[in-house]
């Protein structure tokens, strides 16, 4: 943890021109000369800037993709610093090696930075307090901090941070700043409006797509229309005749058209005549699933976990369950179609655009263009959704290659169709689940999965709770690309594991909540092998959601499903209520309990969890990607269907388990339990067990 390191090594304080203090946080222990005063002045890489005019700027170090970290991370600094939140300004930080992990992914921003950012704020507060105490010649212990001022109560004196900044900057950085007692938190745990809210509702330029620079050209790119096809002959004569089109350049396996407007670039791109050659097999989703089935029928997979003797338990069982689940490929469908600005000029590169991994984009561009990383600047604006799509570097790297080839500053804009056909998809999977049951208990659990790409892996809380458990996974090699999609792994595993748990409960005639609590009690008291979860925290959310939903009471016409899942450090339990309206199931209510440690921004946290639930319902119900001869059949939102307001439950109640522990993940953990809770409610309502996603096409 950062606080155990020498402060000298990673916290640097310096004066701003015209008076003021700037604190930068250095996790990588850069050489001391890097922190010379003048250099810091012009490097916007600090977390806190206090200027003589009284303005206080906090920098949010991680990409903002809608998960709220542009608000929640600076809240942590502000809490310790002791400033009036309404008076500070927040900026997104550019990529800077002194800021550590500047990635948006794995629900890691808040949980990874909580302690660091508290220390950053506390350090500044302590130095400002010391500066005040020295100027008044009073003991530091008599001084307190409130709303950006240091106060000496005994004498009634006050000094603003701005007035103290220059003096504070001359002080030694405290070796071990005292963190606030969390009981005194005033900002953390409250409801804070998103820092960009006003800009969002007034339509100000905030996003990558809004980038405009002097001399910039707009580009659209023709990429292979199917996986397995490569670029052949190109005839750009018609494209070059389109008014506004300036250049056509080839890069790798694609052709870019550069023009003076987006529309001209699109017209030019669409006028290209390109021969695409099939150089590899053109794959089909139907074949993927047929191959999955063959793979699951063969007992070839090596288990990644194998407790007890599953085969013996199956033989001695009163009843055996053996079912198969199917999960389709998904696209990310973030609302802002991909784009990126690049300007490669005179051995330097400027990159600006949506990415969850600015560091990886810079590193790849550096290698491909042979330009050292120190000559490449990259930062990302607020982003219109991520969901894992921008953990891939392709959009940024492509823009850099186009700018280099065209020798022009360029804004590359993707169409929705480009996004759908050129994604790194949530891979399709198939799972076979088997259970051996006695008349009253679960004797053995056997899960076997297969997915496109590297293969599937993972366990539920059942691992560790019962004596006989086997889990195995395989991968199917394919030229259709795969990537991370919100709550990777968990979003599919929770569906199959928690749907099957419900099937087990039905077969055993057990209450789904009580039976899970029974298993978790066993996991705690008679742990089999290792467990990667805390049974007590699981219980905390199951108990809370049971209370919230009045589980166990019957409401006429209401059918319920339950599910629980642990991911990214957080525990979530959900109850979904379904009612039949005109013969069709309609979700009326969702209850959700979350244990994610301490909540930073209650408004943002609640919004994330409600949004995850809507996202979960959406992808359980509607969209799927189908590969037909290497091409994606669903080219836009008319066939790749998303949930709309009319499909949203009337209410989604979210409660957080009160916790003093450090925060854990929140951008993803709300999503995995949704699909199984819904499947279990639909089974209760219709008697039909839906083992295949998405559901809507099977309900019609």
């Amino acid at each position: 943890m950062a606080t155990t390191q020498s402060r000298r090594n990673f916290l640097k304080v310096s004066a701003l021109a015209g008076g003021g203090m700037l604190i930068s946080f250095n996790l990588l222990n850069l050489p001391a000369e890097a922190h010379a005063l003048e250099e810091i002045l012009f490097t916007p890489n600090a977390y806190i800037k206090i200027a003589a005019d009284g303005s206080i700027v906090l920098l949010a170090p991680n990409p903002e993709i809608g998960q709220g970290v542009k608000t929640s991370l600076p809240m942590i600094v502000a809490e310790e610093l002791g400033v009036d939140w309404k008076k500070i300004k927040v900026e997104l930080a550019p990529l800077d090696s002194r800021m550590g992990r500047q990635t948006a992914g794995g629900s890691g921003s808040v949980r990874g930075r909580f302690n660091e950012l508290r220390t950053v704020g506390a350090t500044a507060r302590e130095m400002l307090t010391t500066a005040a105490a020295q100027s008044w010649n009073v003991p530091v212990t008599e001084c307190t901090v409130e709303n950006g001022e240091v106060i000496h109560k005994a004498s009634g004196r006050k000094l603003s941070f701005a007035a103290l900044a220059s003096a504070a900057a001359k002080l030694e950085v405290p070796a071990k700043p005292t963190l606030k007692d969390p009981k005194e938190f005033k900002l953390i745990g409250t409801r804070v409006q998103d820092v960009d809210a006003h800009k969002i509702v007034t339509g100000q330029p905030l996003f990558g797509i809004d980038t405009r620079r002097e001399g910039m050209l707009f580009a659209m790119v023709s990429r292979p229309p199917a996986y397995g096809k490569t670029l052949g002959e190109v005839n750009d004569a018609a494209a070059l005749k389109v008014e506004g089109v300036k250049k056509v350049v080839k890069i790798k396996n694609a052709v870019a058209v550069l023009a003076t407007s987006t529309w001209a670039a699109k017209k030019g791109r669409d006028a290209l005549v390109i021969q695409w050659n099939a150089s590899e097999k053109l794959e089909n989703s139907a074949e993927h699933f047929a191959t999955f089935k063959t793979m699951l029928d063969k007992p070839t997979a090596t288990p990644h976990r194998n407790d007890g003797d599953v085969d013996a338990a199956k033989q001695g069982a009163a009843k055996n369950l053996d079912v198969t689940y199917e999960i389709p490929t998904l696209s990310h469908g973030q609302m802002e179609p991909l784009n990126f600005f690049a300007n490669v000029k005179d051995g330097k590169v400027e990159l600006f655009g949506p990415t969850q991994v600015p560091g990886a984009v810079r590193s790849e561009v550096s290698k491909l263009l042979g330009i050292a990383e120190e000559h490449i600047t990259i930062s990302s604006p607020r982003q219109g959704g991520g969901f894992g799509r921008k953990l891939m570097t392709d959009n940024g790297v492509e823009a850099a290659l186009i700018s280099a080839a065209a020798q022009a500053p360029v804004q590359v804009q993707w169409t929705r169709e480009d996004d759908m056909q050129n994604d790194f998809y949530r891979p399709a999977e198939m799972w076979r689940y088997r259970a051996a049951l006695s008349a009253t208990d679960l004797l053995a659990w056997h899960q076997s999965g297969v997915g496109i790409g590297r293969g599937v892996r993972g366990d539920s809380y059942v691992a560790g709770a019962i004596a006989n458990y086997r889990a195995e996974g395989q991968g199917l090699t394919s030229n259709t690309p795969t990537g991370w999609w919100r709550a990777p792994g968990a979003n599919t595993l929770a569906f199959v594991a928690e749907s099957f748990m419900d099937e087990v409960c039905v077969a055993l005639k057990k209450d789904p909540v009580a039976f899970r609590l029974e298993l978790l009690k066993k996991a705690k008291e008679q742990t089999v092998g290792k467990i990667n979860y805390d049974p007590e925290k699981y219980k905390s959310v199951i108990d809370l959601v049971a209370k919230m939903s009045k589980w166990g009471t019957k409401k006429p016409g209401v059918f319920r499903g339950f599910s629980t899942w642990f991911s990214f450090g957080s525990y979530v339990a959900q109850v979904v209520d379904v009612q039949m309206v005109d013969g069709q199931p309609k979700i009326s209510n969702v209850y959700c309990a979350v244990n994610c440690g301490r909540v930073i921004n209650l408004s943002g946290a609640e919004n994330q969890v409600q949004g995850s639930i809507v996202d979960g319902i959406c992808h359980a119900m509607f969209p799927k990607v189908t590969f037909v001869n290497g091409a994606v059949a669903e080219t836009n939102f008319h066939t790749y269907k998303f949930l709309r307001m009319k499909d949203v439950p009337s209410d989604i109640e979210v409660q957080f388990v009160q916790s003093d522990e450090a925060p854990t993940g929140l951008g993803e953990p709300g999503l995995p339990p949704v699909a199984p809770a819904l499947a279990n409610a639909l089974f209760a309502a219709t008697g039909k067990r839906l083992r295949k996603l998405p559901f809507a096409e099977q309900l019609a």
Binding site: G203, I209, S261, E336
Partner: protein
């Protein structure tokens, strides 16, 4: 190309564009009004919603040549300082997550309340279901529309 005259946010402007250009791109690339967003290009997501004579319209499939002198209102022209009742309600409810779709949502909601100041839940759902929010902020959006209706 002949210049095309438009009425945008109460001002008369002239643009030199291909008459087949969708209004969306004229606003964004030629008039620098980037609050209107591109999402799908096929009138399925509502991110590009504007008002045409006070009626919500998807600007991504609306050809600039078809607009003539009808009044275009974009998010930038909805209010002077972001204080339209719908915008205020959006702020009060802290609706946005990524924020990308919200200008389109706000324009659809503002048009709805212009024609129907006190919509029922079903009417709100019917009007707003042309707008996708991938982050899933629908419950806050619905609540914000109701809040704005009360302020009207």
């Amino acid at each position: 190309m002949p210049a095309i005259t438009l009425n945008v946010n109460g001002k008369t402007v002239s643009v030199d564009v291909d008459p087949a250009t969708p209004v969306l791109w004229v606003l964004r690339d030629h008039l620098h009004l980037v609050g209107t967003k591109y999402g799908c290009g096929v009138a399925q997501c509502g991110a590009c919603t504007i008002m045409l004579d006070n009626v919500a319209m998807r600007s991504c499939m609306l050809l600039v040549s078809a607009v003539a002198k009808r009044a275009i209102t974009t998010i930038e022209g909805l209010s002077e300082n972001g204080d339209h009742p719908v915008q205020k309600a959006w702020l009060e409810l802290d609706v946005a997550q990524c924020g990308y779709c919200q200008t389109g949502q706000i324009m659809t909601a503002a048009a709805l309340l212009k024609s129907n100041p006190n919509p029922t839940d079903a009417q709100i759902e019917a009007s707003m279901s042309g707008n996708i929010c991938r982050c899933g902020t629908y419950l806050r959006i619905k609540e914000a529309v109701k809040t704005a209706a009360k302020q009207n």
